[in-house]
């Protein structure tokens, strides 16, 4: 099987038109790959471009240069140039993402938010909900919250809904943006365990973890993002 993710010579800058067109380079010459079953952690001080890299990988940041190649159903897709509907298709079946914050949809219950990615792949709703319930109980989200929309949940509760939503499918590539930032020790341990299960199943994981303990527990390799600093590349 092909390497799930190969990033080569990716560069990104922002042009801020409301600030007289100032161009702010973010990263340059980003090249790395992630093997099946490997967890690569993006390291380096904040502001160095870790989140930007994840967002480019997911397609919500555009890419100025370079390629982001993903193995999607045996076909190679370059996410840097793919059409919107191809990106959506890749997200549905190949590429998962756990963001830092849950984007809540009014009136949709926590259970259904978690079940949705499975449903979108054609799993019958009852089966998807059963799977969602399993994950939410593993993450110790009180059962009485399952039927409520998460808008009123605490940060940690929302984050657990988000994690469950990201982990419910068997996407081959999973992006994790500080999934443990607002969790207590017990739930951090659950996430570490979930990540280990994903690795055993051959998922390629790329994550940002500020918590050293979690990072050491999950990382196969730490990629220092400051090496991709555009200032350094220019020097």
């Amino acid at each position: 099987m092909a390497t799930p993710l190969v990033v080569s010579e990716v560069a990104k800058s922002f042009t801020m038109h409301l600030r007289d067109g100032v161009r702010r380079p973010v990263v340059a010459n980003v090249s790395f790959s992630v093997k099946a079953g490997e967890c690569v952690v993006l390291g380096g001080p904040s502001g160095v471009g870790k989140s930007s890299i994840l967002k480019m990988l997911y397609g919500n940041y555009g890419v100025d240069e370079g390629q982001i190649l993903m193995d999607h159903d045996g076909k190679l897709v370059n996410l840097a140039t793919a059409e919107p509907r191809t990106v959506l298709e890749v997200r549905r079946t190949t590429l998962g993402y756990v963001s830092q914050f849950l984007r809540v949809v009014p009136r949709v219950s926590a259970l259904d938010i978690v079940a949705e990615p499975l449903q979108a792949r054609g799993t019958p709703i009852e089966e998807a909900r059963a799977h969602a319930a399993e994950l939410l109980s593993k993450l110790n989200l009180p059962r009485e919250l399952w039927s409520l929309p998460p808008a009123t949940f605490s940060g940690g509760e929302q984050q657990r809904v988000n994690i469950a939503r990201g982990f419910i499918t068997d996407h081959r590539i999973l992006l994790l943006d500080e999934p443990t930032a607002s969790l207590d020790a017990k739930n951090r341990a659950v996430v570490v365990e979930l990540i280990a299960e994903k690795k055993a199943k051959g998922t390629a994981l790329i994550g940002i973890f500020h918590d050293e303990e979690v990072r050491d527990a999950v990382a196969d390799r730490i990629l220092d993002v400051s090496a991709f600093s555009p200032r350094k590349a220019a020097a």
Binding site: F14, H17, L18, K55, Y61, V87, P106, R107
Partner: protein, 258 residues
């Protein structure tokens, strides 16, 4: 994922005399895709929507629709009767003001049933059963089936308009500011409803809105219009998270944080 687009739009322009309505718009829309058209008032959103839905004739350019028989048809070359049949059956159009899309002086049930009769349904019992099923789906109590929409609140009218449009299982729905003029709590309910229906029915939709939050919630893709032209387009979260054009950056940065 179907491989052929439902709608193909090529170099569409509409002029009102010398004034530009919209110009040189090209895109394709596939089944199951929701496209949001955003931009401020006067940017050409509604003109574009009207040209797509044959409510206005474009000055130049072609809009082709993939008919159920697998053929592409140039909408401008269709006969009036055929076009109207298409609009009543395979398409839906949800107006900002429900009074423009509903018949205010006939019952809610008849508003929904009318479209069924347009596709040849004649059995009163079936029509009434389907109508009450749809009222339930849009969260209108079945005991209101014989009431006229005049007696409904704005949110209920809008939900009724949606039921009227979706009852014939259209493949393509146009929506013009569907949540405009509604209270935010009523908006949330409507958005959730639309989102669910689009997903369950696999609809393609073109939604005109000036509300970027609505676009974010409902659409897969987005086109930003200014002065009649599409200045930026792409995946909705890409356009909103990483806007490229000066005008898009201004729009995105103008959203109030709650």
């Amino acid at each position: 994922m179907s491989t052929l687009p439902l709608l193909k739009v090529n170099d569409l322009s509409k002029f009102y005399g010398s004034r530009i309505g919209c110009r040189n718009v090209s895109f394709e829309l596939y089944a199951g895709e929701v496209l949001a058209i955003v931009g401020e008032s006067g940017s050409g959103k509604t003109t574009l929507l009207s040209c797509l839905s044959t409510r206005l004739m474009p000055t130049s350019g072609i809009v082709e629709y993939h008919m159920r028989d697998g053929q592409y048809r140039d909408l401008a070359r269709m006969g009036e009767a055929e076009r109207r049949f298409l609009m009543r059956t395979d398409w839906g159009f949800v107006h900002q003001n429900p009074a423009d899309g509903l018949r205010m002086t006939v019952s809610a049930g008849a508003n929904v049933g009318e479209r069924l009769m347009a596709v040849g349904d004649r059995h009163y019992g079936n029509i009434r059963a389907t109508a009450s099923d749809w009222l339930e789906r849009v969260e209108i109590g079945v005991d209101r089936i014989d009431d006229q929409p005049r007696a409904f609140s704005g949110g209920m009218r809008q939900r009724l308009q949606i039921a009227r449009n979706l009852v014939t299982s259209p493949r393509l729905v146009f929506m013009d500011e569907p949540t405009g003029g509604l209270d935010v709590s009523v908006q949330a309910r409507l958005l959730d409803l639309v989102r669910g229906l689009v997903h369950d029915l696999g609809l393609a939709a073109v939604i005109v809105t000036h509300d970027l939050a609505v676009a974010r919630l409902l659409s897969h893709r987005m086109m930003v219009m200014k002065d009649g032209a599409v200045i930026e387009q792409g995946l909705t979260d890409r356009v909103l998270d990483d806007p490229r054009e000066p005008y898009t950056q201004l729009l995105v940065s103008s959203i109030l944080q709650v």
